[in-house]
């Protein structure tokens, strides 16, 4: 299955992926409209320091602790992609407690959110990958 991978050698720490992610999942068609003067809730996050950076987003584990631990059944695997029904989620954050990569976070409504490979939005392909200026994030089989 294709997944999002990051190559920290090429990550510039520009944080564009976070903004592209937040925009792609905003449901709006204009980035300024979606993100201006708002706190963003990206599903991908840059970690690192001044010299080394890399983006982290859901690994879509084949044996995912988040899905197994979810108390509501909101998290599930669909064709290998771990997706979340935010309608079902009550925001207990057990998934955050068990994700080994720190890839699940709370959205503006305090329920859990995670990378769903932009399959549920209109981006068409992962927005972080598409918008990465240095091919540091790739979407591929590995």
């Amino acid at each position: 299955m294709k997944r999002v991978f990051v190559n920290e050698k090429w990550c510039l720490g520009c944080h564009l992926c976070e903004y592209n992610c937040a925009f792609a999942n905003s449901g709006l068609d204009n980035m300024a409209k979606a993100l201006k003067d708002k706190k963003i809730y990206p599903r991908i996050r840059i970690e690192g320091d001044e010299n080394i950076n890399y983006a982290v987003s859901c690994r879509h584990c084949t044996d995912p602790m988040c899905v197994k631990s979810c108390i509501t059944g909101a998290l599930s695997i669909e064709d290998g992609v771990i997706t979340i029904s935010q309608d079902k989620c009550v925001g207990c954050l057990t998934c955050i407690l068990v994700c080994p990569y720190g890839c699940i976070s709370q959205n503006e409504n305090s329920v859990a959110q995670k990378c769903e490979l932009c399959l549920k939005n209109s981006a068409g392909e992962p927005a972080c990958v598409k918008g990465c200026p240095n091919n540091a994030i790739v979407y591929e089989e590995r």
Binding site: G13, Y19, F23
Partner: protein, 501 residues
């Protein structure tokens, strides 16, 4: 101090309706133009630092940024242009030679744009490159004057060493040091994929890039940086750099600050020491000396590598080329006055040398007049900007073209012409690791491959239109060219007719 103040050349225009304060501009500007003011919660700009490299513009996700030329100008004066006056100010302040980078930006004639290409109509057919083979391969190197046969009458097929190029384009010399490791990697990988050559420049060959040897031209310049036996034998050819179009008659100076780590190792000079290339080669003070160096290099490489002699296009270039053609050199590379550089004195860059078009026209004709055109191949550079420039150069008589500025553009260069600062925001003309990594060679090499592939397609289209299906039949085929906006004298030098004739 007021007298020293010069209003910034550029202004940063930020569309407040669009700016989402993501801070990408701030993080991406090595010149520190942008800054988020936490108190005001706005992005501020220090425009004095802006070099208009467009990095922020290109990366701004909401297209909130543009960089415009400042309209705060001095009083208009046709003699004393704004930039001329400001240069005086700068020199009055610094007492120093002005430095600049990349090619001559001044509005001197671009003859490529005054030359038009022919096409076939009715009396002979244009050829469709999508249907018919369209050949662009060339061999660079000395060709024999007379066929030799063995005792059985079979032709002896030994040729002097040649460089085979599937398309008559090579990446010209840019040293490791003046450009980054990733830029070199991109060039090397692209050259390999395209089957063409890139050129080490005078900075030596990084150990990682020996594997690209068959697609590498190794350069020997006046500083002799990084030159050793393995280096000479590593490439497809050796280039002796006598001069560079951007700064004829001038050596090079890479500041010690850039001589760090692998750059120092590759150049074989101590870290932090300035790399000074003298103006002349101190063992070449005449054409006979050049011949000695040519043959020294041939000896060192067992006569297996063609030797290129690169010179800047200067006034008596035809005579110089004739001398080189008789020096044993296999290939002459001529660099025109619009060629790029990582740093050159502004006055030299903008006032010394001649256009490559004229140099090429007269050198090709001179070598033919002397009957020695087949003794050498002719490679021209110094602002070959597009496929039609290549076609025009070949039709004027070049065997191949060197491109560098256009290659850098493909790698992301936005021609801000401040390479000398070492703060290239595109990761090209810099050695700062956090900037170097901005050029991902996976992207860079692909873009170079795309560029040359695209040009090759265009060359084929242009050739097909002319009814020519092999680049050999285009070489020196000046009948395919016509001039516009040219004086009789110019037409005479180009040896072409005016359009309409």
């Amino acid at each position: 101090m007021g007298i020293e103040y010069i209003y910034p050349e550029f202004e940063v225009v930020r569309n407040a309706d669009r700016c989402i304060k993501c801070g990408v501009c701030q993080r991406q500007c090595a010149n520190e133009v942008h800054k988020l003011d936490e108190d005001l919660n706005v992005m501020l700009s220090d425009e004095a630092k802006c070099v208009n490299c467009q990095r922020c513009v290109a990366l701004c996700p909401t297209r909130a940024l543009k960089i415009v030329k400042s309209d705060c100008r001095l009083r208009e004066n046709a003699n004393w242009s704004d930039s001329t006056i400001k240069e005086v100010y700068k020199q009055a302040s610094s007492g120093a030679v002005l430095l600049s980078s990349m090619g001559n930006p001044n509005p001197l004639p671009v003859y490529w744009d005054r030359i038009l290409i022919n096409a076939s109509q009715v009396t002979n057919p244009p050829i469709d490159p999508l249907r018919e083979p369209m050949e662009t391969a060339v061999f660079l190197g000395k060709k024999p004057e007379k066929i030799q046969r063995d005792e059985n009458g079979k032709i002896k097929c030994e040729l002097a060493p040649q460089i085979k190029l599937p398309v008559p384009i090579m990446f010209s010399a840019m040293s490791y040091g003046s450009i980054s490791y990733n830029a070199h990697e991109s060039l090397a990988r692209a050259a390999r994929e395209l089957g063409i050559c890139y050129n080490t420049g005078e900075g030596g060959l990084h150990k990682d890039f020996y594997e690209y040897g068959p697609n590498t031209i190794v350069q020997v310049a006046s500083g002799r940086f990084g030159v050793h036996e393995n280096y000479l034998n590593a490439g497809a050819a050796i280039e002796i750099k006598m001069g560079q179009g951007a700064k004829p008659g001038i050596g090079g100076h890479l500041p010690g600050a850039k001589i760090v780590g692998d750059v120092s190792k590759t150049r074989m000079i101590p870290e932090g020491s300035d790399a000074i290339s003298p103006a002349p080669h101190h063992d070449i003070y005449s054409i006979e000396d050049l011949r000695q160096l040519v043959f020294s290099l041939k000896e060192a490489t067992n006569y297996k590598k063609p030797i290129i002699v690169k010179v800047a296009a200067v006034h008596n270039i035809a005579a110089i080329a004739s001398g080189i053609a008789r020096s044993g050199a296999d290939i002459i590379a001529i660099d025109g006055f619009r060629g790029g550089t990582g740093a050159a004195p502004t006055r030299i860059r903008d006032n010394v040398g001649i256009p490559i078009e004229l140099a090429l026209a007269s050198v090709d004709q001179r070598l033919r007049d002397e009957g020695i055109r087949n003794n050498v191949s002719l490679v021209v550079g110094g602002s070959i900007r597009c496929a039609s420039d290549v076609v025009k150069a070949i039709a004027l008589g070049a065997d191949a073209c060197y491109i560098a500025t256009s290659a850098l553009l493909a790698l992301g260069c936005h021609l801000c012409r401040t390479c000398q600062t070492g703060k290239c925001n595109w990761g090209i003309a810099t050695q700062r690791p956090e900037l170097v990594k901005r050029l991902n060679p996976d992207i860079g090499y692909q873009r170079l491959v795309n560029l040359v592939t695209a040009w090759q397609h265009e060359i084929k289209e242009l050739m097909g239109a002319m009814g020519i299906n092999s680049i050999e039949a285009l070489k020196g085929n000046r009948l395919m060219l016509r001039g516009v906006n040219m004086t009789e004298k110019e037409l005479e030098i180009f040896n072409i007719s005016h359009a309409g004739e």
